[in-house]
Amino acid sequence: MAVSGFLALWAWLAPGLAFLILSLVVPLRRSGKPAAWLSIVVSLAALVAAVVAAWHARVPDVARRMLWEWIPVEDGVLTSVGVLVTAEATLMLILVALVSFLVQVYSLGYLADEPPASLGRYYTYQSLFTFSMMGLVLAPNFVQLFICWELVGLCSYLLIGYWYQRPEAARAAVKAFWITKAGDVFFLIGIVMLWSRTGTFDFAELFELVQGGGEALAGLGLVTFFIYLGAAGKSAQFPFHVWLPDAMEGPTPVSALIHAATMVTAGVYLLFRTAFLFEQTPDVLAAVGWIGAFTALLAATLACVQSDIKRVLAYSTVSQLGYMMAAIGAGFAGAGFLHLLTHGVFKALLFLAAGAVIHAVGTNDIHAMGGLARRMPQTFIVFLVGTLSLAGIPLFAGFFSKEEILSAAWAGGLTVPFGMLVLAAFLTAFYMFRVVFIAFLGAPAVASAGHGGHGEAHAHDAPAIMALPLWILAALAMGIGIWFSIAHPEAEFVPPAWLTPLAVGVAVAGIAFAWLVYGLRAISGDRLFERFWWIGEAAMERFWLDDLFALVYRRVILGASRSIGWVDRYIVDGILNVLSAWTLTAGDRLRRIQTGQAQDYVYGVALGVLLLMVWMRWPK
């Protein structure tokens, strides 16, 4: 009973310990490789602990809590820290530990050329991230969740800006921080509003309040909407999604861990964990579903025109996050959570495979690749597994969770979002196989596109230390798929019979269409673009959303800051300056009565004594 709690606690604290050691023992951190191995061993230990904890906690719907008082107040405890272990939380814990372990192993190969001090810094951040993310997953209340929420945001910022010498990376890091922070402010306001209404931060106590009818929870809509805004910022929902593609400036393993598998799914996880609150506010939930489906479609459209392989994957992540949100919005948080887990596995796989390609070819541009399937057969196979998974082909992990989401949207009565999601599923298959056909199967690119030292012809499979995580993730992506085919996860609803053929048909149609356009070249890509020029141009400009954000930032925020600065400089400071000028003038005038002549002082004393005498003898 308490075993899983203990194990989860240790899984959580171990990376924190590694972070403390690495940050305090400077020589160890600067030594590079030893620091990396420490971090890797600790995350492996965390993975083992998480797996065992999940085994002990496999009975669903039983929560195990270990709490310590943190902020005592006069009448009780304001908030506590600890772990709240549920079956789902331990699954998420395994995902976090697994992906972070594999990514750290992979980074040994990917970042082999980094100087030791930078490598140590990288692994220190990685440990901090694993610690924070696990704290977020296990958080028993909103306060701990929010603290860890900000910590993972900080790690995201630090790791996007890992190559901080590059101005684009530094700018992307700041952009990611700002935009997620905009959501976080609302999240914090929502938490405090919830607390002032109910007097507790604790999930279990809130759950009891909801169960008991909860008059205190009346008019909760604004609270849940604010909490949703926080989740939307973190999980890159429209219109906050603009930071995620830019976050690809970080090292590719970081993109795999933080910006695909774990941190960006924190918003989905939050909504999953507090689904009981959101169920009280159907309006907000419907908005979540609509925005999620819209995000899925919008990002899928954007992914179709990107030529940077990492950006395709980034928009794909945004799109898949939209899917998860849509399922939650339809009222079936479990379906969204299932997709979160499978997506975490196969998207990490895709990112790591893309990283292997970038490592070998030295460019992100898919048009500069071409014909990689022959030169990098292993990478091609694992990338294909990830792609089929993402496209939703049977026997692969993504198929079941995506189908579940589609049927959830249908069962939840969100008909229009359901249509958007089906269209997005078609586009997903299309843009992923566009990458496959151009980069892996197409004719090798002309030599002029090759970049500098990394000759295209020298491209070969990644070294074993990078290949191993790829194969493990590929095996998992297939294994989960096959396991689901045997033991189909029981759904909370009955999907209509035509849904599975529809989902598979749409995915196959997308693949076939991509094959026609980029494989056979039966349909000219340029003519396709001309036909859909209005949407193509808009997608090329990212629907002007980035420009809109830049405009808001420059005009509104900077303008407001400037006017406030003007008030401070000329009005607040002005009043003080006038006062001090008056004081100075008065002092200057008064100074002159000091003549320095001793006789004047004597005269003053004599006059004073005389006046005193007159005053004393003055008749009353």
Partner: protein, 99 residues
């Protein structure tokens, strides 16, 4: 002669001394004014001793005269030093404390 007359004399002497201290431009003149003021005090002391029949006032006067002598010696020494340093003994020019 009554006590009143002596006190009036002393007061007039004091005022003359004070006038000198305030108006003389020469530092030595100021010292002379101070002498006059001190002697006015001496007259007061002696007059009260005589009319009240208390000898301690006269004893006090002897002390005052001694102190006056010392004060004059010190004052003149200061004036000479100032003159050596600043080449002047005119009070108007000694305004280092001017604000």
């Amino acid at each position: 002669m009554t006590l009143q007359a002596y006190l009036t004399l002393a007061a007039m002497l004091f005022c003359i001394g004070l006038f000198g201290v305030i108006t003389r431009r020469n530092t030595i003149g100021i010292l002379l004014g101070i002498e006059l003021m001190l002697n006015a005090v001496n007259i007061n002391l002696v007059a009260f001793a005589r009319f009240l029949g208390d000898v301690s006032g006269m004893v006090f006067t002897v002390f005052t005269i001694c102190i006056t002598v010392a004060e004059v010696a010190l004052g003149l020494a200061l004036v000479i030093l100032i003159f050596r340093i600043r080449r002047t003994a005119v009070a108007d020019h000694l305004d280092l404390l001017k604000g």
